[in-house]
């Protein structure tokens, strides 16, 4: 993380997001939480419990923890991460298991990241119909 007043380069922002995914994958939610501002917002899609807006770090981390508890063998393979001044976009090949079934998806995560490397907003574009189906089984 950059020190206060230090502006991250685009490559550093990309690395910050990559670090976040790696931390999630090893179950280090404490590290993931450090990468969000206190007032960060997570915009989930769809009509499941993971859809809607989760406002504040506590709410979005709660959502993330619940996701991790709902599914097994969560795989998030980063295909690419791109960045410009305002956005970082991660293209992710994902798969999760639930009740013995595997659900694969190609997801896009869009992040707003501050110059100090903290995420303020996240949007997830994914197959929410499949997510709904996986929760009904």
């Amino acid at each position: 993380m950059a020190e206060a007043g230090t502006k991250l380069s685009l490559d550093q922002k990309v690395q910050t997001i990559r670090d976040g995914f790696e931390a999630f994958k090893r179950g280090d939610l404490k590290r993931v939480a450090e990468l969000f501002t206190e007032d960060a917002v997570w915009h989930g899609r769809g009509s499941t419990k993971f859809g809607g807006d989760f406002k504040g770090k506590e709410a979005l981390m709660g959502n993330m923890a619940q996701f991790a508890q709902t599914f097994q063998d969560i795989r998030l393979d980063i295909h690419d991460i791109l960045a410009n001044d305002k956005h970082v976009v991660a293209l992710v090949n994902s798969s999760v298991k639930r009740d013995g079934k595997t659900y694969a998806d190609q997801q896009t995560f869009v992040f707003h990241v501050t110059d100090q490397g903290k995420t303020t907003e996240t949007w997830v574009v994914s197959d929410t119909e499949q997510l709904k189906k996986s929760l009904e089984s």
Binding site: G46, S47, D80, L82, N84, H87, L91, V125, D127, E129
Partner: protein, 131 residues
Amino acid sequence: MADAGTKLTPQQKIEMARKAIEGTSRGEVNPEGFAREAVMRGSLMGEIKGRDAVVAALKKIPTMFEEFRQQPHAILADNDHVVALINLKVKSGGKTVEAQQVMVVHTNDQGQVTELWAMIEPEALKQIQKR
């Protein structure tokens, strides 16, 4: 379109993508922007293979609705991908659906599209398709 052998910069790819998206909303699609073996995978049209078929599909999409407008919110690019975050507005049957669309594009060094994914959130897509 860059000359053969000319490698486009990410910024050049972004500008090309912006013009292409603006053109597509008007039903204007330049076939030279696509590689001969281009593939499109989209929420609205399924998988389409080959330049001619992709171009025809992209020209057809706006005609399927009373209004079809794609407004780029941001376009990002690196050496491998161009990603466009798009605010989509579709009007059909007198009703308007607004959705966020993500386009992920693979290009060759000449900036021609080799693969294109166009994703719309499924709930919004269902609203669009039932009109």
